[in-house]
């Protein structure tokens, strides 16, 4: 029974991630059209447009991946065949498992069984995510090298330098959060945020660590290699960067890894800074409004509200990243390195020092 529950939880986490990835593909196409005042993807319609409304969403969701997986898989003549084949898998696989440690709800109570709504409860969950995301770099580097093409190679080299640089800023932003909540377990961090600050404001990370949120969001976008940080694949300079020599399903795996990273950044921003699955004032037995008002809610409804709350926040931050992607122009390479090393790093360090001093000085400040 326990095994079955774990299996279902893992499946749910994986499905959230996969559905979100495909959905983001469509949202990105339609969203960019909205921003640029175009109609966007509207060709894939059911029944040849006989229906009065456009079912484009359903069809684009299926048509895009199907098209990509049907294309010919070209391997360059001088490529390193094995590594060329391996790279897309290395890019995608570590990212798949990261969602396992993201909690998508508090607990589900069925009878007297209490199920923790998280696929894998790792007590160093935050480090697990960081580690797996850092392994994703290998896909970029190996893909760039194995293609044996100048453009791809330059993209791979750029990618490795960029991702190492921004991992540091990202790590420092996370250190401040860990200091605030005193744990590395993502579920525990989410639970801590259910408490209240001065009895009114929810103890969300955004109120404790606004600076860390900004740092993390910037570093997160840079880690997912999307504009304005898309130098590894800068299409006006390097054709398509590290995946220039990829086609068909393998190219789509690289694209998918991009969208998965968007989803992971959104999930982490949600969990660390916006209370994860928390609904303000909603405890396990109902709403506890400030001033002593209490509205009881059945346990199952609480769980559903929490999962919905998590998904809504997740969508909002995915959408925010798509907005950023279609709003800002690409940075120059020196600007990219300056931002990473001369801005994010010192600010992140200062934030960690200030947080540590505050935590020590106001021992009661931490919600322990």
């Amino acid at each position: 029974m326990d095994l079955l529950i774990s299996f279902v939880l893992a499946l749910v986490a994986l499905l959230i991630l996969l559905q979100l990835t495909v959905l983001l593909l469509w949202v990105e196409r339609k969203g960019s059209a909205l921003i640029q005042d175009r109609v966007g993807a509207n060709r894939a319609n059911l029944f040849g447009g006989l229906l009065p409304f456009n079912l484009g969403i359903v069809n684009t969701l299926m048509a895009d991946p199907l098209k990509l997986f049907h294309k010919e898989d070209v391997i360059p003549k001088d490529a390193d065949k094995f590594l060329h084949w391996l790279a897309p898998f290395i890019a995608v696989l570590p990212l798949f498992v990261t969602f396992a440690v993201v909690p998508f709800g508090d607990v589900l109570v069925i009878g007297d069984r209490v199920i923790n709504l998280q696929a894998a409860n790792v007590n160093v969950g935050l480090l697990f995510v960081l580690g797996m995301v850092s392994l994703g770099v290998y896909g970029v580097v190996i893909g760039g090298w194995a293609s044996n093409s100048r453009y791809a190679f330059l993209g791979g080299v750029r990618g490795s330098a960029q991702m190492i640089s921004y991992e540091i800023g990202m790590g420092l932003a996370l250190v401040a959060v860990v200091l605030t909540y005193g744990t590395l377990d993502l579920q525990q961090i989410a639970r801590e945020q259910g408490k209240l600050m001065w009895g009114v404001i929810p103890a969300w990370g955004v109120f404790y660590q606004p600076l860390a949120l900004v740092l993390f969001f910037i570093a997160g976008i840079a880690e997912s290699k999307r504009p304005p940080f898309d130098l590894p694949e800068a299409e006006s300079e390097l054709v398509a960067g590290f995946y220039t020599e990829y086609s068909g399903s393998k190219q789509s795996m690289f694209m998918m890894s991009d969208f998965i990273e968007v989803a992971i950044v959104a999930a982490l921003v949600t969990t660390l800074f916006f209370g994860g699955w928390q609904v303000p004032y909603l405890q396990r037995d109902g709403f506890h409004f400030p001033g002593g008002f209490f509205v009881g809610v059945p346990s199952l409804v609480v769980t559903i509200l929490q999962v919905v709350s998590f998904l809504v926040k997740l969508f909002i931050f995915c959408w925010l990243q798509i907005l950023v992607r279609w709003t800002y122009p690409r940075m120059r390479y020196d600007q990219l390195m300056n931002l990473g090393w001369k801005r994010l790093l010192p600010i992140g360090l200062a934030n960690v020092v200030v947080t540590a001093v505050l935590v020590l000085a106001l021992e009661g400040f931490t919600i322990k």
Binding site: G131, I142, W145, S160, M163
Partner: protein, 163 residues
Amino acid sequence: MIAFYFIALLTLASALLVVLHRNPIYSALGLVNTLFLIAVSFVMLDAELIAMLQVIVYAGAIVILFLFVIMLLNVESEVRSARISKIGTAGLAFVLLFAVELAVFALVRDPSGAQELPAGFGSTELLAETLFSKGMLSFELTSLLLLVAVVGAVVMARRKVES
């Protein structure tokens, strides 16, 4: 137990790949694989924090830098020669020495001295407490050493540009 032997075998195989493969890129990738599998061994020993740090620091940062340098310098595949070099001989001697040492250790050690693990073993709190109380001096000295190494590297790189 089966899991341990399986992981150990894979670790050894990828470690051999590091040494034996002629292409330096494959060697670096073998190194990543070895380090990752050692992290898996750490997980099996209940040391999750160490495992994750191993992945983040070694696999996620250091070997990426190795790859970066190998790719930038465009190191060619090594030409295999029949003769074993002096360094190779020395290496073999050390391998033999280490094997003998391990064998002696395995024969001599007394398994009855094994202790129960303390509560919370491998947790972040316990590790941090040990590191910042008992291991404070060596921790600070290590960071000083690393700082000196970084400054030294920068100084040497600077000098080359000027000359």
